[in-house]
Point group: C3
Chain length 335, copies 3
């Protein structure tokens, strides 16, 4: 039984098959793959787009979604083996995963890191425990990666430019008032490199390098495809000749959970907003961002409201790629 | 493409057609108008009755509703063009409206005013921005008017008294511990005047006059129908010969957001609760209130529990009028 | 019209019929008993398992569930007749129950006691008011009893041991950091005694005796069945020869809402966690707990992870017994 926890576990061919199926579903193909089935959408963090697109997608496949919402910022659930549960946690993942598996056919989970201890949190312990104990497939709705967003982005790029192999993909850090999760940044370089793009990362300072797990995977995927993976702090070098620009803000890992010290490094990126001037340096490039997005902080209005902006298409694609993925997981094993 | 933002945008004939269809649906007519379609119910403020009736109504029409709930008192969403989004707002309506339009076929929104600046808030900026940027019909689930409640009230009145033209409709201010939104009061005079009733407003003091937009519209509708629109602070004059009494409490606009100064005016209405004595002055009148309703503060038990009380019928009618309205919006344009 | 408020209102034969139907549904029988019907799930307290299992169950029966969630710890709803509603309560149950009855075919309610005044709260006033004013069947999703959990437990016991009559059932108090509601403890002795088991209660001190209403009912049911009801503070006597052990923690009623004084009595139970040593004294007994459950506080890992643990089966059974019960209530009166 396969889960959908990270695209690292799926080959490019398998992912392309999901994208092709998503494109067919977007074009109007119908599917009853979830008839009589249900999916639990478990949110340890809030969501609008993700819950909407999963709920509607499951319904369009003939199934039924239930939404389980954490009330606070984090939902106290224990995942460590052998824990003496005399603290805030009322339930162990061992029970939650097994019981939900009796009720539903798929379990999807959103659980952001807590910004406390990256060494532990980079293991993605909660969703890993769910996958270990559930007896139905588990889907990642964003933890320290965001694989559904990856598929939506890649579908938008393929719709615009066909085969992306050898195209220049720029992930640029952009300003934001607060340090954010690295999940979408990790995911952007994973998927672009996996599909053979030349990947550039523009960051204000070396402290914004992503975790070695993702930097290493992107380098490896690029090497396998014969493409380049580069990191720069030079805006002009980054934008020159780019075919696709992807914006994301994140907090620097050396200051993880102790963000005070990050301020001077963050200040170096104060002019990193995507503007028409920067876009003019690209190869008539497209630009996108997962939503929500702060206008005139991350990307200027004139760019968002130009034909180059793919963010709405990418957001729509969430619906179609998730339907393709739920279908694939529900149908595995010859059911 | 038409929205349902305020009954001011719909003619009396169009509204009567919705009411006639609602009556048929209430009598058991079935409809599959939302088969394969979905509606997003977006709540910036809490709701029980509205979400229940929209969700069940959409399901009864063969469709699917998703509920998107703001967690706090207000959901930080920017609506101003050109805003530099470096504050609390994470998303602009331009993106939210366009993305939701890709997922669903109808968008319904509840967004109360914030009691900060009536000059701005009377423009109903958030739902107006949604309607401007959405590519599917937008429905008002209460902002500064409550058009669904209007239809439910009018259907209850027509069920009880047939043609309401020329009947005496009294909107009476009633006590409440806190200053409330004027939406239902605005709506009550809009719909009663539009259907040709003689409209009386009973208020404790002139400071409780509603905004000129609604007072003016009601006067105009009455003039067109040949009926009267009057405002009084005299309880006996207001109740004498009334055919229908409608209760609502609201805060006085001159003290909008700075409610301390309103106290002495509010005190003048301390005896405005609807009692059997007051009802005895009417023309064997009916009485109603949108729910929730504080018993023995706004309306005395003996009135609520009498056959004259239409509040439960009015609440039930929410289901039927909303089904008629969703059906009309979903089917427009020959789909 | 019958409600499902407490198993005390249903005969053993009627409950057995529900269990038999649940078993058939679990084995794959299909039912369309809720086709075109809907159920409102009203939560004054949070829930994951209950809302999941009711929502999925209703869907599997062809119906539709809507979830109405209290935002805070308690939802301000008035239930007293004649109340002057000038406090926090915005709505009276008289209106809420009647309006919901116009929208849906079944109303299910979760409302825990507030730990303020047991003399009042033991009357279960809110759900009683709902049942009095609703015009559709009302279902208890846990108040001061938890009848759905009772059925799920009894089904798990019958699946494991066939006829439970004359078997030894032990309800043991177990440690927990906080004083909890007595609902599941009340329910455990009600259902075990009703089905003719010999019921033992193990408590750290006499102050942990449950309310006379439930102790008396259990004694009466045991007397009718010719079985024994005993209360002990002796761990060895309690466990020796037990066929089924059920764990629950609760606060001592003499300290209801003023829990400071309970501490010394609570301390007497500090070694009451269910361990392999204790289970070794039983008659190869099974063990269960309603979820969520704190591992290594209430029950040791080695017990939870042994084949004797029925908690996952019991949790799964919630789905099936609730489907049987919704079906029975929806079909009553020849609909």
């Amino acid at each position: 039984m396969r889960h959908f926890l990270t695209t690292e576990d799926w080959s490019r061919g398998e992912l392309q098959a999901l994208l092709d199926r998503a494109r067919a579903l977007k074009a109007g193909a119908s599917s009853n793959a979830l008839a009589g089935k249900s999916i639990a959408l478990v949110f340890f963090n809030p969501s609008l787009r993700t819950r909407s697109s999963f709920d509607i997608g499951a319904t369009q496949l003939g199934g039924h979604a239930i939404v389980l919402d954490a009330k606070g910022a984090t939902w106290p659930m224990e995942f460590a083996d052998g824990a003496v549960m005399d603290g805030d946690e009322e339930e162990h993942v061992r029970e939650a995963a097994r019981v939900l598996s009796r009720y539903v056919d798929l379990i999807a989970i959103r659980c952001f890191p807590k910004f406390q201890n990256w060494t532990e949190e980079k293991k993605d312990p909660l969703i890993s425990a769910f996958a270990a104990h559930a007896t139905v497939p588990v889907i990642n709705m964003e933890t320290i990666v965001h694989p559904c967003q990856e598929l939506a982005l890649m579908l938008a790029l393929q719709e615009k430019m066909g085969n992306v192999r050898g195209k220049e993909f720029l992930l640029t850090w952009v300003p934001h008032p607060r340090p954010l999760n690295t999940a979408v940044a990790n995911s952007a370089i994973l998927i672009a490199s996996k599909f053979g793009m030349n990947v550039r990362m523009l960051i204000p300072d070396e402290v914004y390098r992503l975790d070695d797990r993702y930097m290493g995977a992107a380098e490896r995927y690029c090497a396998e495809a014969g493409s380049r993976f580069t990191v720069t702090t030079d805006v002009e070098a980054a934008y020159s000749g780019a075919d696709a620009v992807y914006a994301k803000s994140w907090g620097a890992l050396p200051f993880y959970g102790k963000w005070e010290g990050e301020a001077p490094y963050r200040a170096k990126g104060r002019d990193f907003m995507i503007t028409p001037d920067k876009m003019a340096m690209t190869n008539n490039g497209v630009v996108s961002h997962c939503l929500p997005m702060r206008r005139n902080v991350k990307i200027a209005d004139a760019v968002v409201d130009s034909p180059a902006f793919l963010g709405i298409e990418e957001a729509e694609n969430r619906l179609h790629v998730q339907k393709a993925m739920m279908e694939a997981l529900a149908l595995q094993g010859g059911h």
